[in-house]
Structure formats: C-alpha cells, structure tokens
C-alpha cells in the first residue's frame, strides 16, 4: 500500500508536467484534442492523489509504524477520528492533504467547464497544475510522506494532546479548503489575462468559488478562535499571533474582493483593482503557509522549523512576478469604462470598504513582519504585540462597521438628499439613540459606546430593508408576512443572504466589543474553603480531586459558583497529564450565559498545602462570536444556494437602490 502511494506521487508529478505543457500549447495551435488531453491529465492527477492519500490513511488507521509519519503522529490507542486527523497533523501529511483539496477542485473545475469557457480553460488548468506541481515537488522530493523507518517501533509517539480536540480536528481542513479555494479565482484571473478576455466572464464564473473559499476561510478562522478559547486557557480567543494573522490576511483581501466585484459587474470599473485583489489573496495564502512552515517569524505556536521556507519564498516570488507581470502586460485592456460620479454614492462606500479592508490587511502584515524588517534595517529584532494590532484595527474596524450600515442603502452613482433622508436618517438616529441609552445607563467607554451604536445602525438598516421588501410584496401580491419574507429572500439570494451575513458580522462585533472593553480577570491563590468574587459571582474553592484513566491522569479543582447567594453550578477546571507523550495540559471550565462567560483556569496546585491558583475571567458577550458565526454560515448558504430558474413573484417587485445586478 505504501509503495503504491509513493509510486502514485511520482507518476502524478510527471503527469502534472505533461498537463501544464499540453493545455496551453493545444490552445495556441488550436488543437482541441491537445486541450482535452491536458484536462484529462488533470483528472488523472486527481486520481493519483486520491490513491496516495488513501495509502497514507490506510497506514494511519492500521497503525503501520514502519512509516515514519505514522510513528510520529499516531499511536495504536489514539481514537479513530484523531488517527484520521493525523493526516493533517504533520507537515508531510498536511502538504498531501493540501494537494487532495487542490486537485479535487481542479477536477471539479474541469468537469464543470467541459462545454463552457473553452478559451479560458487551457490556462485555468495549466495554472492549477503549476500550483499543484509546486506542492507535488515538495511531497516528492523534500518531505516525502511515505518515508520508512529503519526499525519498526512498537508504538507511535501519538498526536500532540493539544490537537486532540474537536475544534482542532475541523479547524485545519476548513482553513485549507479556504486557502486552496482562493487558487480557483486566481487561476481564472490568470487565464483571463493570458487570453485577453478581460470582461467579467471570469468573475461571474468564479463567483461561487470565491464565496466558497471565503466561507471556509471564515469558518477556519472562527474554529481556530474557538479552539484557542476552549483549549489554550488564557481567557481569550485571538492573540494576533503570526500564525493567526497568516489565516486572517487572505480573508481580508478576499472579503474586499467579494465587495469590489459588484462594482465591476455593475459599472465596469475597478478592473485593475480586482485583479490586484485576487492576486494578493492567492499570494497571501501561500505566504500564510510560508509563515507557518518556515519559522521566519517566531510564533509562540511555531510549527516545524523545516527547510521548506526557501522553497515557499521562491514560489511566492515567482508567482508574484508572473501574475503581476501578466497584469502589466494587459494593463491597456483593463482600463475602466466608467468614472465615479459623486463622492456621496454607493460606489464610494464600496471603495472605502475596500481601502479599509486592505489597510487592515497591510497593518496586520506590517505588524507580523516587523521583527524581520527591523532586524534588516536596524539590526535589532523589535516586536509589536497585540496592543499594536488592537490600536490600529479598532478604529478601522469601526469605520468598516459604519459602512456595513451605510453601503446597502445609499444610492448608486449619486446620493440625493431625499435618498439620504429616506434611507439613512432613521438608522442613524436609531444608532445615536442606542449610544445615548448606553451613556445614560452609565457606560463610559467611548469605543464601546460607538461600537454598540454602530451595531444599532447596521441592524436598523438591515431590518428596514427586510421590512420594506416584505411590505412591498404584501401590497403587490397579498402574501402573508412570513411567506413574503421567505419569497423576498428567495428572489434575491445574493442581496438578502449578504444582509444575513452582515447580521452575523454585527453579532461578532458585539463579542469583540464586549470582550475587549469589559473583560474582567482575576488571579488568586486560595486555600480549600476560601471564597472570592468576580463580576456578580461568588466562587468557593473546595479542594481538588484526582482521577486516572489509561490515557490521561486528571487533577480537578472543585469550584462552587454562587450567584445572589444561591449555588448555581460547580465548575471543575482541570489539569491533565497525558501519559504518552508525557505532557500536561490545562482544561478550562466555562459557565456560559448569553450575557457573559465565566471562565475558570486551574493555574497551579500545591500538593502539600492544597493551595491552588485559580484564574477567573468574565468574558462579556463572547458567546455572540460563535452565534454570529452560525448566522454567517446560514447567510452564506442562502447566498450560495442555486437560484431557481423561474421567478415566483411578478417582475418589478420592490427593489430599493435600483439594484439592477441580476441575481445569481
């Protein structure tokens, strides 16, 4: 099975080179059979990677410790789901996993476009194969996943206990799908540049792909945050660590791209900008992998500091040179066909949204590479910590939030006073009202008040949009309100799905604001029977109890939680000692309510005195991060779901802002 895997990899490498050559050559000499052969090579490459992956999975599941990879990342007692997860637990496996996703996507693209986009397709397959070839060369020559050990150990080293967690099982796959998904719009963009077909065909073709990639990037970041919160035990969910930033940066440019393509579709403008965004997004996914794999930037959670860095860097430079080179070559064809009409228009709101997203991305990039840059320039490594990122991004994020409220209701081209009065005034007043109520209620944190007020503005605009749409349908076809709401969304999924996503984003902003402005933390060392207060809770430490299992030994602190004199719950923050490999971990205990989480960590325990250090956090509104994420997932489904061909409502139903973009 193992040899089958290695052979498949090598054969596949040869095939990929064949495919890269054939498709564009076929297009150049106008030979359909050459192009088709290149596409078939893509499918064959996909088949080979499935074989190789199946071989590695087989090794993991059957605990074949003669394989170095299996011996490193698995063990015979590891639960099955983590044996499978070990596929992306180590470097060689994760590169292979990356390839599975990439070639699967390439195969889907080929199958989807058998009869469509015939001019673009040869270059699309070639681009995707070039990217695969890079990763393929890695797994063939640099970090082979099928390396054998000289001796066969009795038992494997096991997967790192920190990774043996539900969220960590699904976090890397979603992030990978998101990263790899960005290659598809990039490949179409390159094909559009190569063929000179620079109308918006490539953008329309890849809209769903982009949305899909964005969706998985969002999920990946969200799962990562959730994992950090539940497993790492420092009371927060985001630390601006280089590894986190690596996943966040492509999300930012991808979000910008999703918004700015609407301008291109509607006004035929911003073609160069969109091209830049799609290229940047792709490069950032490679840069992200480079960051996590090269150890160039030291991160508290640094991965393998392997020799892969230079390869990634070279690929990054070559890809950047090729992509931007192509773009400059075609610059004349990318000229805009329209001009902006007025400073007060939806176009401006979109443009500003883009500039800010890219600005945040740049700030995050700068903060991440600052140690390296400062070492080049001044010879001393200087780091900037989380305060830098928060300080820079908080005001930018708030402007973005404001634009989320303004964008959907301000008129295209040129906003008039009546448009502003009709659509913008009331949500603004509502937001001001929210701010005033909070101020009167005693809130004195400026940032928090502004943020909550802006959340109010966005929710008000979105509610207004839904309300007006429903009312219009009711008036025109006499439907009941719920039917009208469902049909309204169904009629223009892209628009209303987008609004639902915005609601999710607002919920997340509630969590960001709650946790950054009102978080409470208390670290205390107590004797059994001692009580202490945090927030409106009173906590009593009742000593520890020990437990033991085959895999893990436990040390559990019993903490009785009182609220208003009543015992509401007993929380048990733990220390665990994994026996193989020997490693302690901290398990937090959380009491979640809609308003806030009470989050307890057993910091240290002293056997002779039975004293324990307990760290308690109150994290206000943190639950909204997860629920906002769920709303975002729902909104994306609404948007991405195929539109039914026949409309169920009469034409000319309510459409504010004169949205003439055809619904997808």
């Amino acid at each position: 099975m193992v040899d089958v895997g290695s052979l498949a990899l090598l054969f596949w490498w040869v095939l990929a080179i064949y495919g890269i050559g054939t498709s564009p050559f076929g297009s150049y000499v106008r030979r359909r059979d050459f192009v088709a052969s290149g596409e078939n090579a893509t499918l064959a490459v996909w088949g080979m990677v499935l074989v190789a992956t199946a071989a590695l999975l087989h090794g993991l599941v059957t605990s074949d410790f003669s394989l170095k990879y299996v011996a490193h990342y698995s063990s015979s007692t590891l639960p099955l789901q983590y044996k499978v997860a070990a596929l992306w637990g180590g470097q060689a496996g994760s590169l292979l996993f990356w390839l599975v996703i990439l070639t699967s996507m390439a195969a889907i693209v080929v199958l989807q476009n058998r009869e469509r986009n015939r001019e673009l397709m040869p270059y699309v397959t070639a681009t995707l194969l070039v990217i695969s070839l890079f990763f393929l060369s890695m797994v063939n020559f640099i970090t082979p996943p099928f390396e054998r050990l000289a001796f066969v150990p009795q038992e494997g080293r096991d997967l790192n206990p920190l990774l043996q967690n539900y969220w960590m099982t699904i976090h890397p796959p979603s992030l990978y799908v998101g990263f790899v998904g960005c290659s598809v719009p990039f490949a179409f963009a390159m094909a559009a540049l190569a063929t000179g077909r620079l109308d918006d065909v490539w953008i329309r073709t890849t809209r769903r792909w982009t949305l899909l990639a964005w969706f998985f990037l969002s999920l990946g970041n969200l799962f990562g945050a959730e994992w950090a919160y539940l497993v790492l035990g420092w009371g927060g969910y985001w630390a601006w660590d280089p590894v986190e930033n690596a996943a966040f940066m492509p999300w930012l440019t991808c979000t910008a791209f999703l918004h700015s393509v609407m301008i291109q579709e509607k006004k035929n403008m911003l073609k160069v900008w969109n091209m830049v965004l799609v290229i940047l997004t792709f490069l950032l996914t490679i840069f992200g992998t480079f960051l996590t794999r090269s150890g160039v930037i030291s991160s508290v959670h640094s991965f393998t500091q392997s020799g892969l860095g230079p390869f990634f860097m070279s690929f990054l430079l070559v890809a950047a040179a090729a992509a931007f080179g192509l773009m400059f070559w075609r610059l004349r064809l990318l000229r805009s066909e329209n001009e902006l009409d007025s400073l007060l228009s939806r176009e401006t709101a979109f443009l500003l949204n883009n500039l800010i997203l890219v600005g945040i991305c740049f700030a995050v990039f700068w903060g991440t590479v600052f140690p390296v840059v400062s070492e080049w320039v001044r010879g001393v490594k200087i780091t900037v910590g989380p305060p830098f990122f928060n300080q820079v991004n908080a005001p930018l994020g708030l402007i973005l939030l404001f634009l989320t409220g303004l964008g959907p209701v301000i008129a295209w081209r040129r906003a008039t006073w009546s448009n502003l009065q009709r659509n913008v005034l009331r949500p603004m007043l509502f937001g001001v009202g929210v701010g005033a109520v909070l101020f009167v209620a005693g809130m004195r944190r400026g940032y928090a008040i502004v943020s909550f007020a802006l959340c109010g503005v966005v929710l008000a605009t979105i509610s207004m949009e839904f309300f007006r749409g429903v009312r219009a349908r009711q008036a025109m076809v006499g439907e009941s309100a719920p039917t009208a709401l469902v049909r309204l969304i169904g009629k223009n999924r892209r628009r209303y799905g987008g609004y639902i996503i915005h609601i999710g984003v607002v919920m997340m902003f509630l969590a960001f604001t709650g946790t950054s402005a009102f978080k409470q933390e208390r670290q205390i060392t107590v004797n059994p029977g001692d009580s202490f207060e945090i927030g409106n809770y009173s906590l009593r430490y009742d000593g520890v109890e020990e437990a033991d299992s085959e895999h893990i030994a436990y040390l559990r602190a019993n903490v009785a939680v009182f609220q208003g004199g009543e015992l509401v719950e007993t929380l048990q923050p733990e220390k665990r000692f994994y026996k193989k490999p020997e490693q302690p971990t901290t398990e937090v205990a959380i009491r979640s309510t809609l308003g806030a989480d009470l989050y307890l960590v057993l910091g240290s325990f002293d056997q002779p005195t039975q004293m324990a250090t307990i760290i308690a956090y109150i994290n206000p509104l943190v639950g909204f991060l997860f629920w906002g994420g769920m709303v975002l997932v729902f909104g994306t489904f609404v948007t991405i779901w195929p539109q039914r061909a026949t409309a169920t409502a009469p034409a000319g139903a309510y459409s504010p802002g004169r949205n003439t973009v055809p619904a997808d």
Partner: protein
C-alpha cells in the same frame, strides 16, 4: 474641485490615517526581541527597558514556592551551547502561572517578557516555545525504544 481629485484627496487622507495609526502603534508597543546571547552581549543597553528574551531554562535551577499571592518562580535562563551544556545564564523572577509546557526540572525553551532590573529579569509573562507544536524533536522518542526526549 473635480470629482476625481476629491477621491484622490480622500484616499490620501485614509492612507495617511492608517499610516499614522501604525506609526503610533509601533511607537507605543514596540519591544526588543532578543535571544539570550544578544541580550548578554549588551545587557546594560537594555536595562530597565521592556524586553522579550528567548532562551532555555537551565536544568535544575527551577525553584518554586506557593505564596498567598500566587506561585513564585526563580530560575536561570541561558543559551543552548550544546546538548546538556549551557553558557552564561541570567536569573529570572516570576510570580504567576507558567504554561503547561514549562517543565519544573528545566530544559524548556521559553520566551520571557519582562524588565531587566538589578541583575534579575523580572518577568511579566513566561511563554514556552515548543520547537514545534506539531512535530517532536527529531531523534529518539518512540515509547517502545525506551527513553523519551520529552
């Protein structure tokens, strides 16, 4: 003013604002990040400044004591000249909670944020930098072969 130049002015303002935010952010939060070697070479330069130092805990130097205000740690960090051999070290004092990967027998690779004062590095924060979250150090370490490198 022409619409186009209005846009350019607007964009320039925005770029300026982002630039300013970044500049002041760096000014306020920058911290020297040094290896223990670099620090030892110029320790008087960095005295009383916020520093972030990467080093290894010298085996056998960790002393800890539970006090009513928390757990107190005293240990030494140095550079890793070779396996089981440490160069010059500096003492560290820390009151707080150490991360899971911090081993009380020493030998952990740590990143310490703190201030060097009167010959002691007073730590605000101790982080462990596992050589890799995903990959154990190479060499030994298969349970059946006896002896792990932890």
């Amino acid at each position: 003013m022409e619409t186009k130049s209005k846009f350019l002015v607007g964009a320039a303002l925005l770029v300026g604002a982002v630039g300013y935010l970044m500049y002041s952010g760096v000014q306020q939060t920058a911290m020297y990040y040094l290896t223990i070697e670099e620090f030892l070479a110029q320790r008087e330069v960095y005295a009383d400044e916020g520093v972030r130092i990467a080093g290894r805990v010298k085996p056998g130097t960790v002393a800890k004591r539970m006090t009513p205000s928390g757990e107190e740690f005293e240990f030494e960090i140095g550079d890793f000249v070779a396996e089981d051999e440490m160069g010059q070290t500096i003492p560290v004092y820390y009151l707080g909670v150490t991360p899971d990967m911090f081993k009380s027998e020493g030998g952990s690779d740590v990143i310490i944020e703190g201030t060097f004062r009167d010959g002691t590095l007073v730590a605000q924060n101790v982080m462990t930098s596992c050589p890799s979250k995903y990959e154990a150090e190479d060499g030994t370490g298969y349970p059946a072969e006896g002896g792990t490198d932890g």
